[in-house]
């Protein structure tokens, strides 16, 4: 750690933002700071992402990558038609992804709507992480997910409910309307308020993932600014998308967010997580993300506390690939569970 990093590390989130912005987190200060960030070379970014996607990962490396992908998945169900039964079967799958292979790792977390958190916690039982390093986390989407169109009071109540019910992680959405119209201060204040609402009775905090919904931010520059904003405000994770609109996670967008995380580490020494979500359906795609993470921020990020996949159908494809590597012949959908 350099001396400037050391100085940064001793500050809390608010003080750090104050020091970087050179003043309070007002619209004007944030605009000056965020618009002062160098722009993105979009062609270069896409080329770099395409280049990272061409790496050939085979045999033992592939086997390692597949197991790693499973352990990084936030197994997700976010449908209006979700039922307690569906959440229980999702938890069953999270605990035992491949019943035919006890060596198959567990996923990192299950991600559900806030009202279904008690069901997920109950279904996990003693396997619920609940603040420990082992076990499976329960993530809840909150703050009027997916649109984020509700008053701050409603959003905070939404978060508070989920945290009280036992959620270990909160996936919040930012107010894209406010961000796009330049009201950065409002977005900042909301994230700070939500972070405070993540506080549990015992004083610890639920992990906060900030969803940028990059598909609505239009440009890579906006994605970069939103990433900085979310990190400045104290987000533990930045997440690409809700999965409710296209385009969801893409490799270039995730790469640009990883670059912000890398720069933040250089600046402050602190580590922020990244979660691409939506649209990652095949092992092949997921391996491209693994390569991108390793090449951009380093392999130390390939741990559930710093990198996640938000996915539902991805797991089945990874399991089929895994079975192919174990048995030597191609597997089929009949050999994995139906979602």
């Amino acid at each position: 750690m350099t001396s400037s990093q050391l100085a940064m590390a001793q500050l809390n989130t608010g003080e750090r933002a104050l020091a970087l912005l050179g003043g309070e987190a007002t619209d004007a200060n944030l605009r000056r700071y965020l618009h002062g960030i160098p722009g993105i070379d979009a062609v270069g970014l896409e080329q770099r992402a395409a280049d990272l996607g061409t790496r050939s990962v085979k045999t033992s490396s592939k086997k390692w990558a597949l197991d790693k992908i499973i352990s990084l998945i936030d197994l997700t169900t976010l449908e209006g038609a979700d039922t307690p039964g569906k959440v229980r079967s999702l938890v069953g799958k999270a605990l035992t992804p491949d019943p035919g292979d006890p060596a198959c790792p567990r996923v990192a977390a299950v991600c559900v709507y806030g009202d279904l958190v008690p069901i997920a916690v109950q279904a996990l039982g003693s396997s619920h992480a609940a603040g420990t390093a082992t076990g499976i986390n329960v993530a809840a989407v909150a703050t009027a997910f997916p649109s984020g169109r509700a008053s701050l009071a409603v959003k905070l109540a939404d978060v508070g409910d989920a945290v009280t019910a036992g959620a270990d992680e909160i996936d919040m959405v930012i107010d894209r309307g406010a961000f796009l119209s330049g009201r950065f201060g409002q977005v900042y204040d909301e994230i700070v308020a939500v972070k405070e609402a993540c506080k549990r009775a015992d004083g610890s905090y639920a992990h906060l993932k900030v969803i940028l919904e990059t598909g609505e931010l239009n440009t890579y520059d906006n994605v970069r600014r939103a990433s900085w904003l979310a990190i400045l405000a104290g987000g533990d994770f930045i997440k690409t998308s809700t999965g409710k609109m296209a385009p969801a996670a893409t490799l270039p967008v995730t790469l640009s967010m990883l670059e912000v995380v890398r720069d933040w580490k250089r600046l402050t020494g602190a580590r922020v997580g990244v979660k691409p979500a939506g649209g990652i359906r095949t092992s092949k795609d997921a391996i491209k993300y693994i390569v991108t993470v390793a090449e951009t921020v380093g392999e130390e990020w390939l741990t559930p506390s710093l990198f996640r996949f938000g996915a539902s159908s991805l797991l089945n494809d990874v399991l089929m690939q895994r079975q192919k590597m174990t048995t030597g012949h191609y597997s089929g959908p009949d050999y994995v569970t139906i979602d």
């Binding site: 079975q323 030597g328 012949h329 191609y330 597997s331 089929g332 959908p333 009949d334 050999y335």
Partner: protein
């Protein structure tokens, strides 16, 4: 002035598209006399895997189509074959070295066979199904249903078009989707048949045609867990006992190799071979 000929590259037919092999490989197709005719894509195991995925995703709509509709679609193929008979005759003469009359006779027979199988689409259930006798006031009915994705090793000798049609058509009748490995040395009429299928009413993915080495692809298709049946009609020269053992691992139905000019001759048995019988109970009435 002499004109430079433009030889055609024969590509695969997977999911309604004509991709090259993912391996990038091609192999030379030579005429009966040994002259260069064309390059054909040499499919790899990954092309076979992609073809199975395409066949699986096409299964729902093809098996779900009404029997009458399937019959119409299959008949339409015969109509289109008729329209392109000159091309098929030309390719058969070049690759097999037979007379034009013999090639013409083969194309005729292939067309007739499509028509014959097309007719069975809305009739085979009446023959293969049954109303079972029961000792109560209800019906007990057995109906054949398509088994799913069928992999076929097309006949590697005899007429190149007729052999392929004889193996593919019966599997389609019941509503199965097909991944077929064509005649290795004479695949031109198989790829041209793919072009006919692409412009007919057959949905993409219902028939997938691979050219290349059956010895290379057959083990992967036989052991593939998402293949429901494998027709080894043209696998007589391969180690087909091991193919059967591989297929058994994932409960894949197997049809054994056939040799000689009567290989895959038209029969109701070839249709029924790719069906599973469902037996259901139904009340007689609520009077």
């Amino acid at each position: 002035m002499t004109r430079l000929a433009v030889p055609k590259t024969y590509k695969l037919y997977i999911g309604g598209k004509f991709p090259r092999s993912e391996s990038g490989r091609v192999y030379e197709i030579r005429s009966h006399g040994g002259d260069f005719l064309a390059n054909a894509a040499q499919a790899s195991r990954k092309d076979a895997r992609d073809a199975v995925v395409a066949a699986r995703s096409a299964l729902g709509s093809w098996a779900g189509a009404t029997a009458y509709n399937r019959g119409q679609v299959l008949y339409r193929i015969a109509e289109l074959l008729e329209g392109r008979r000159v091309q098929f005759i030309d390719e058969i003469v070049q690759t097999e070295g037979v007379t034009t009359a013999a090639a013409s006779a083969q194309v005729d027979e292939a067309i007739d066979r499509w028509v014959w199988y097309a007719g069975w689409a809305d009739k085979y259930v009446q023959v293969a199904g049954n109303a079972n006798p029961v000792s109560g006031p209800y019906f007990n009915i057995s109906v054949p249903e398509p088994t799913g994705v069928v992999a076929i090793i097309a006949p590697q000798s005899g007429g190149s078009l007729l052999g392929l049609v004889s193996a593919v058509a019966p599997a389609l009748v019941a509503g199965n989707t097909v991944v077929v490995v064509a005649n290795e040395t004479m695949p031109l009429s198989a790829v041209s048949l793919g072009e006919v299928l692409a412009t007919s009413d057959v949905p993409g993915g219902v028939v997938n045609i691979l050219t290349g080495s059956p010895a290379e692809m057959a083990p992967w298709l036989a052991s593939h867990a998402d293949v429901n049946a494998i027709d080894l009609v043209g696998a007589g020269d391969l180690d087909w006992v091991h193919l059967q053992i591989d297929a058994a691992e994932t409960l894949t139905r197997v049809l054994q190799p056939e040799n000689g000019p009567d290989a895959a001759s038209p029969s109701l048995a070839r249709i029924v071979a790719f069906t599973e019988t469902k037996t259901i109970w139904h009340t007689k009435g609520l009077i």
